[in-house]
């Protein structure tokens, strides 16, 4: 029996109200951004739709990002909402190649929320920030009446400095680029799912939540990176489609090359989910100039967070905006953005 709030995988497009699918990272989210936020806020920094904006401040280029975390349950195998908030924002900065400088943390707490749990979340955030070497430099707290929030929500923002000569953005991927993936997919989504649904996979499946800025720094030192993205909501599938669309390139990938841990695959099979669209919190996909791809791959494998890095495919000139996957038995399928979400409220 599930008691999760139902997501809406059937986005009836002209909805008068917000449905959960609007937060899925799929087509409905894209539509919400396109139709509500972009026309209102319209500016070249935002219109790029990267995970972060890069601002020119004098001679420095400052990466700036923000992210809210509403995961249920707050604690799951391999992590918790606090760790997720710190890592998620560091990763959004790192995907521009930036070295993170500092984070902010804003808490929305529900009346009646356990002080003990809050303490555990905050301690976990502090530990994650210390380990990443990025201070939480400012913050805010609001308390709302019982029922107006689900325990606690966290919003983290971050700033970082983009090193000189580094230019990484989804729209810069180009035909010929090799696509590298830093490790197994779908660990985070399935860890949260199995915890929430009591599927009995606990222990076997852990969230991959991790801060990726040091891995990115190693990669930048090793070769020419064009585009980077961490496949969170919507999974690797959505990430590949977003980059293909943004850069106007085609993507061809091999299903067999994409690593998925055994228990994660088993859980996905059991629930009828496609790991390609399940969330990750400690992985990245990189579009790398072909000449330096093997050097970058080596650098990734030398870092503990990229030990299982693989090449999964390449960017091509044909079928711009379309992601083709060669299946295990030699057929092909088109990978498209999911409509809503496969899983309710992962992050």
């Amino acid at each position: 029996m599930t008691d999760f709030s139902l997501s809406c995988p059937l986005p009836i497009t002209r909805r008068k109200t917000i449905v959960l699918g609007h937060g899925s990272g799929g087509k409905l989210s894209a539509q919400l951004i396109r139709e509500v936020f972009l026309p209102a806020f319209d500016n070249p920094l935002l219109n790029r739709l990267d995970d972060q904006a890069v601002l020119q401040a004098g001679t420095a280029r400052v990466a700036f990002t923000t992210d809210s975390f509403v995961v249920t349950p707050l604690f799951f195998p391999g992590g918790d909402i606090g760790k997720l908030a710190v890592h998620g924002t560091i990763n959004d900065l790192a995907m521009s190649g930036a070295a993170p400088l500092a984070l902010s943390a804003a808490f929305i707490l529900e009346e009646g929320f356990s002080m003990e749990e809050l303490g555990r979340v905050v301690a976990s955030m502090a530990e994650a920030a210390r380990a990443a070497g990025v201070p939480i430099a400012t913050g805010d707290t609001k308390v709302v009446p019982r029922g107006a929030a689900d325990g606690m929500f966290v919003t983290t923002s971050g700033v970082g400095l983009v090193p000189e000569g580094v230019n990484i953005s989804a729209h810069l991927a180009r035909p010929g680029d090799k696509i590298l993936l830093s490790g197994t997919i779908a660990d985070h989504g399935m860890a949260v799912m199995s915890q929430r649904e009591g599927l009995g996979f606990e222990g076997a499946i852990e969230s991959d939540t991790a801060a990726l800025h040091r891995l990115v720094a190693d990669m930048i030192a090793a070769g020419e990176i064009h585009a980077l993205r961490d496949p969170t909501r919507g999974g690797l599938g959505a990430t590949l489609v977003e980059i293909a669309t943004s850069a106007g390139i085609g993507v061809e990938a091999e299903a067999m090359a994409i690593p998925v841990r055994e228990p994660v695959r088993a859980a996905c099979e059991l629930l009828g989910l496609d790991p390609l669209f399940v969330a990750n919190e400690g992985k990245l996909a990189a579009f790398v100039a072909p000449a330096s791809a093997s050097r970058v791959l080596e650098a990734m494998r030398a870092n503990p967070l990229g030990r299982e890095a693989v090449m999964i495919g390449e960017a091509v000139e044909s079928h711009p905006g379309m992601v083709l996957l060669r299946t295990e038995v030699g057929g092909t399928r088109v990978v498209d953005l999911p409509f809503g979400e496969q899983l309710p409220r992962i992050c």
């Binding site: 599930t2 008691d3 009836i12 379309m322 038995v329 030699g330």
Partner: protein, 399 residues
């Protein structure tokens, strides 16, 4: 993964494909009955790998797709009632009724919950003694045993606030309906493996004999499907028409006796309306009289249901294998998974959704590396169109 990877091996797939190519000498039309099989075929691109002589048409075996609009509207009306906790399999929530879906019912305050098993509903019923818990019992012979068991258990445990809204369907009458249709093109069937795991295949033997049609009970992994196709093709080429079992690791001739007993104790056959097809005689289950107290249709008075299908939708013909999703003018234009006109565009097992999700778009073949369309409309098809009921009500409708 054990028992899965073995059935997705590229080397073995190539071997089977070569054997299929060696076997076929002329065109054959084979229908995979089950929506799960359709999903696998399109997901793995198996249809692109087969020789052009083999044409796969997609069958009616998507439980969500064939549940009648009237049943869905009835379910929505029940779910809207205060005091009712309405439980359903997840897939059903997205299926559009005459006005909206169960998500909208929920957004408007209905207590709608997803369950993985109907037995979970009994727990809900016990925890909510002041509420009526209703489960939407849909599906083929695969879901029937557990649904029946929930009623059996409710009676044994004395749970009085649980009932089921039954809209069960069964496979053999649907296959008969397709074979009886004047426009039928199906020459062999891949039988629905999981349905046969419950029911066995005895009941398919008279079908194979009477209509001289090969039936191969087939599984769902790529190698299962390729082997099933090979076995069907061999029968067709040899002029045989037998029931064979490809899915031997899950299916025996007598099925699962305990599951069959449970179905028979709780349900009895009845006529059933199939969405897009019409009423098929003796093609469904309803609760036996002695379980009337657990029959939501009898407990609750549900009135004023006026069901109307969108006119553009040809899902009835798609479900009978008479048309392919790409033949529909609404496919990918006014009908998408975001704005479905029919249930076949909703469920993962629906043929239209499978085509759409895995990128079978009209015109996709004009791009060099894109997968080619299943097959272009050919001569045979034009002939069929002429004999089909243009209203799309289907040849089986008895009203």
């Amino acid at each position: 993964m054990k028992y899965v990877d073995e059935f997705r091996s590229l080397a073995l797939a190539n071997k089977l494909l070569a054997e299929i190519r060696r076997t076929v000498t002329r065109p054959w039309v084979i229908m995979e009955v089950c929506g799960g099989q359709t999903h696998s075929i399109v997901k793995y691109g198996l249809d692109q790998l087969l020789p052009p002589e083999i044409e796969l048409v997609h069958g009616p075996g998507c439980p969500v797709c064939v549940t009648s609009l009237e049943s869905i509207d009835r379910a929505h009306a029940l779910a809207r009632r205060p005091g009712v906790i309405f439980c359903s399999f997840g897939d059903m929530l997205r299926v559009p009724g005459s006005s909206g879906d169960l998500f909208q019912v929920k957004a408007q305050g209905g207590d709608v919950r997803v369950v993985y098993s109907p037995l979970d509903c009994l727990k809900v019923a016990r925890e909510n003694p002041g509420k009526q818990v209703v489960f939407f019992a849909i599906g083929f012979e695969t879901t029937a045993p557990a649904n029946a068991m929930s009623v059996w258990q409710a009676r044994a445990l004395g749970i009085g606030n649980y009932s089921i809204l039954v809209s069960h369907v069964t496979v053999p009458p649907a296959m008969t309906c397709i074979l009886e249709s004047p426009g039928n093109r199906v020459q062999a069937f891949l039988g629905a493996g999981h349905v046969c795991a419950v029911m066995g295949w005895e009941e398919y033997e008279p079908l194979a004999a009477r209509y001289r049609v090969p039936i191969v009970v087939t599984g769902f992994e790529p190698l299962d499907l390729l082997e099933g196709i090979l076995m069907a093709a061999r029968q067709l080429e040899d002029g045989r028409h037998e029931v064979e079992n490809q899915y031997a690791r899950a299916v025996v001739r007598g099925g699962n006796p305990e599951a069959r007993r449970t179905i028979a104790r709780v349900f009895e056959p009845c006529d059933r309306a199939w969405r897009g097809i019409g009423v098929i005689p003796a093609s469904g289950y309803r609760l036996r009289e002695e379980f009337a107290a657990y029959d939501a249709a009898r407990i609750f008075e549900i009135e004023g249901i006026v069901s109307r299908e969108p006119e553009a939708c040809i899902s009835g013909l798609v479900l009978q294998g008479a048309r392919r999703p790409l033949d529909c003018p609404a496919f990918g234009t006014s009908c998408t998974p975001e704005t479905p006109l029919g249930a076949t565009m909703v469920s993962a097992e629906g043929a239209c959704a499978a085509y759409y999700n895995y990128g079978r778009r009209r015109g996709a073949d004009s791009q060099s590396a894109a997968p080619r369309l299943v097959s272009a409309p050919g001569v045979a098809e034009t002939k069929v169109e002429a004999s089909l009921d243009p209203a799309g009500t289907g040849a089986c409708a008895t009203e």
